[in-house]
Each structure stands twice: as structure tokens, then as C-alpha cells.
Amino acid sequence: MDFSSLTLHEALRLLEDGTTTSVALTQAVFSRIGAVEDRIKAYLAHNEELALQGAEQADALRAQGQGGPLCGIPLAVKDLLCTSDFPTTCGSRMLERFTPPYNATVVEKLHQAGVVITGKLAMDEFAMGSTNENCAFAVPENPWKAGYIAGGSSGGSAAAVAADECFGALGSDTGGSIRQPASLCGVVGMKPTYGRVSRYGLVAFASSLDQVGPLSKDVRDCALMMEAIAGYDPRDSTSINRPVPVYSQVLERGVRGLRIGVPTEYFGQGLDPEVETAVRRGIELLEQAGAEIVEVSLPHTQYCVAVYYLIAPAEASSNLARYDGVRYGFRAAGTDGLQEMYNRSRSQGFGDEVKRRILIGTYALSAGYYDAYYKKASQVRTLIKQDFETVFRQCDLIASPVTPTPAWPIGEKSDDPLSLYLSDILTLSANLAGIPGMSVPCGFTSAGLPVGMQLQAAHFNEEVLFQAGASLEQQLGIAAKKPVIGGV
């Protein structure tokens, strides 16, 4: 059998009962990478030799009855998580030759859990983008349809999981960057509550919005990965010190007694009819399973794109000031003096979208404009957050689409930044409010493109997302459906 098509928890069971080894799983993953990677282009770097060394160690530990809860499982991580074993490029020329001297906390946690890291996954430059077309090195393609976007910014993570090039992956989500590609590629993705997972070693884009989270083949895998990465980290002063629930224990609880809110504003103009049909059907299934469905309102939804595209660029312009060509990163050659070295290194090292956001952010923070833009956006952010506080007094979680449309052809919207920003409208609010959100596959369009359902809950209430996600997945029975990639 081809082990690469197993879910993480199925592979784990085979390891536990001695049917297979981590070495065999790792070989299967690299064999799969060899077969499909030319078409998918999900990885920016992978290292079979290193992975097999890790797999041998994992097998040895398991033979002694030791090893962590994910001992021997091959996973991959988005290329903005610092790894001392691999370069960490953030999809940017700026960091093309950067190998961090330390591991991100989540990478350390994966190591402690016994995970074998296969490689680093493609992404939009510094996580800025919704299509992965902003990656300086490779544009991953949707496993379900050649020439279509995988989504972004964690497009490589979603494509690799959907194409069985790893058993699961870590991504990051600043405005939808886990949930949107997960939806477009038909995998599960979770953006945890802000503060649930450490950001230490996650290369910063917008620090008040960024969270690391899993992309996985099914909801159980997502729960197991969250158990491995969540938790307080003294090295991230915004991480929250509270116990991590055993998420995999709530999967069988079902949705009976849960109130699920359906926000009117998320089913508005611009929503693709096939996406709407799939999501509404998913909501009906949750109702049939015992949930109570209530209509709710998030009146400030229409402002979230404007708020986000001021706050995120403002934070980015500040965070990305560190790339000055001095301590690490790209330095332009043959410059005359320090100022020119700064200017030319940054101008040559950053791509278009990153420059655009640095300019918007710098403008919004600059003297004379701060009150009109940054302060105003931060006030409306409060109103968006209050919308959710009101709604979560009426229901336990919210169900909606993740994206207004399914995946589209590469190149179709690349010259129109605003229309791309507008396609993020359904995912941005969760980051602005700091709440958890999950994307769960809920069907396909007539063209065979995946559609996801977004579930959102109050701060630190990931458990109800796992309950509802598992219930939906079980009723739909589509988690095992696989894309056909180049005949293999």
C-alpha cells in the first residue's frame, strides 16, 4: 500500500501496532514528492537524507517504548517558521540565503512530539497574498486543478497536504492565510485563538494578527497537531498561560445542543452560488445532527477589509524595517554609503506586494495621517470585536463560507490588488477579533473544485470548532476523496 495517502492518525496507528515504521512512512512521502512535486510545486526545500535520519531515531525511540505523541510522523512547515536545519526564506529574495541559528518554538514542539520534518513549504512573500503568486521562487498549483491557485499565503502547506506530500503541515494565518488555502485545496485548516500558539520564531508580518496553526487531512489530524503545538511560551510575551485541552477527546461529542449562528452578512453580494449551496447544505447537515441554527448579524463585516488593509500594512511596515542589509538578509552590492545600501538592498530584496504594503503602512502611520487612518482603523477594529462578543452571547459558534469563490486560474487577478484584498472579506475578522477559526471541506463545485465551511468561535473555544468540524466531516464522508494528479 501507499502509506502517503493515509491520514496522520491512521499512520500513527500503524506505527503503534508495529505494522510500519517511520522510515517506511518517510520513504513513502518522498516517493510521493518525487511523483507529483513537478506539478504541485509545494516545497521550497526538502531533505530526504535528514528526514530519514530523524525517522531512524524515531523508530529507535518507539522500539524502546519512548518518543512523543507524534513519534515518527513526517510533517512539513511553512517557510516562515525558523528552522536551523533548513533555510527560512519567507518566499523572499531578501531571505534567500538565511538559515536561522535557532528553531521556532512550534518547530521545537514538533521535534519534542517526535515529528520528522520533511521540508519547508512555499508561501506568498512574507505571507502577504491570497494566491501564492507573490512567492519569489515557486507558485504552487492547486492539486485539484492544474493551473489554478492553491490560495495563500500558506498555499504550499495546503497543496502539500492535499497532494499527500506530507501527513500534515504548519501554516500561519494573519488574515485567512491558513483557512483560505485549506478551503481552496480541500483540506482542514485552523487558525487558533490569538495567544494560543507561540509566535516565537515565526517571522513577523503583523504581530497583533499572526497565529501559527495546522493544515491537515482531516479534523482528527488537526486536533492531534494542535495538541502538539499549542501552549504558553515565555518567549512570546503575547502567548496566554492556560491549559491546552485534549482536543482529540471532543471529536465524538457531536453538535446536539450547540447553537450555530449563521451571519447574514457572510452570505451577501459576490458569493458564488455553488459555494453558497455547498455551505448551506453543510449547515443543514449540522442541524440534522442536532444543532440549533440561528441567524445572527455581524454588522461591521463590510468594514473589515478596510480595517485590515490599514492595520496589517502598518504593523508590517514596522516589522519589516529590520531588513536593512546589516545583520542578515540581502545586501545590494556596490553601494555608496549607508543610506544607499539600505535603499537599494530593500528595493532589490522585496517584491511588489511587500513594497506596496510597506508604503500603505508607512503612509497610514506617518505624521498627519495617523489619526485618519491607523487610529480610525483601530477604533473600528473594536467595533468588529464587539460584534463577535454580541453574537457569541447568542450562539456557540458561527458557520459560513471561508471564501466567496472557489480557486481561480493563476494570473487572473494578479494586476488588481484591491480585488484580491476584497476576496479576503470572510476571513479577516477572526484575526482582527483574535478569535479561532477553522476551515472544513464541505463539498465541491461542478468543476470539481473544493469548497470549505468556516467555523468560528469565541476566544479559546477551539473545542466547539472541533466538535462541529468532526460532525460535518463524518456526515459528508468526503475527507477520503483525493485529487488525481497527472494520472497518479
Binding site: G195, S208, T238, A306, V326, G337, K355, I360, V380, T382
Partner: protein, 95 residues
């Protein structure tokens, strides 16, 4: 117009970015579209509304003032575009 080419050049200089002529023209057009769009926030009366800069109420996260393990100098310099073995090297600043 929400933003002029001169303003884009001024902002680029603040951000230590050097844009050529066509880039200034394109960025001006795109930023103008984006800034015109975000002006819809003016529809909302935010008088008296507090700002949200973080979604969790974290009070200062202090630790004891004790030395912690840290990077060795050679590790810190390993990614430097230019160094002299003990510190980072930059182009001449004072002439």
C-alpha cells in the same frame, strides 16, 4: 486623488525604498485605489470608541532580570552580509 506621486516618493523615502519612475506611477495608482476604498471608514462615527491594538488583555509580561542562554557571537554573525569576525560591517557612514 488621495495620494500624489510626490507623496509616494516621500513615503518611499521614509520606508527606505527607492522606486523608479514607472514604479512610482504604478504604486501611486494602486495606493490611490486602496486609499479611496478605505475611506469608507469615514462613514462610521467612532467618537469615544477605544482603539484595539491587541485582542487579549495581557498586562506587562515581565520575567526576572537574569541572564538567559543566548546566541554566541559566531552564530549571530553567521548570516551577516559582511562582518569582521567580531561585529557587523556596514558601508562608511562618516566621511
Amino acid at each position: 486623488m488621495k495620494i500624489t506621486p510626490e507623496e509616494v516618493e516621500r513615503v518611499a523615502a521614509l520606508a527606505r525604498l527607492q522606486l523608479d519612475g514607472p514604479e512610482v506611477e504604478r504604486m501611486t495608482r494602486q495606493l490611490d485605489t486602496i486609499l479611496s476604498y478605505v475611506a469608507k471608514l469615514d462613514e462610521i462615527d467612532t467618537q469615544g470608541v477605544e482603539v484595539t491594538t491587541h485582542t487579549q488583555q495581557v498586562v506587562n509580561a515581565f520575567r526576572e532580570d537574569e541572564v538567559q542562554p543566548s546566541l554566541q557571537p559566531e552564530q549571530a554573525l553567521a548570516n551577516a552580509p559582511e562582518d569582521n569576525g567580531a561585529s557587523f560591517s556596514v558601508p562608511r557612514i562618516i566621511r
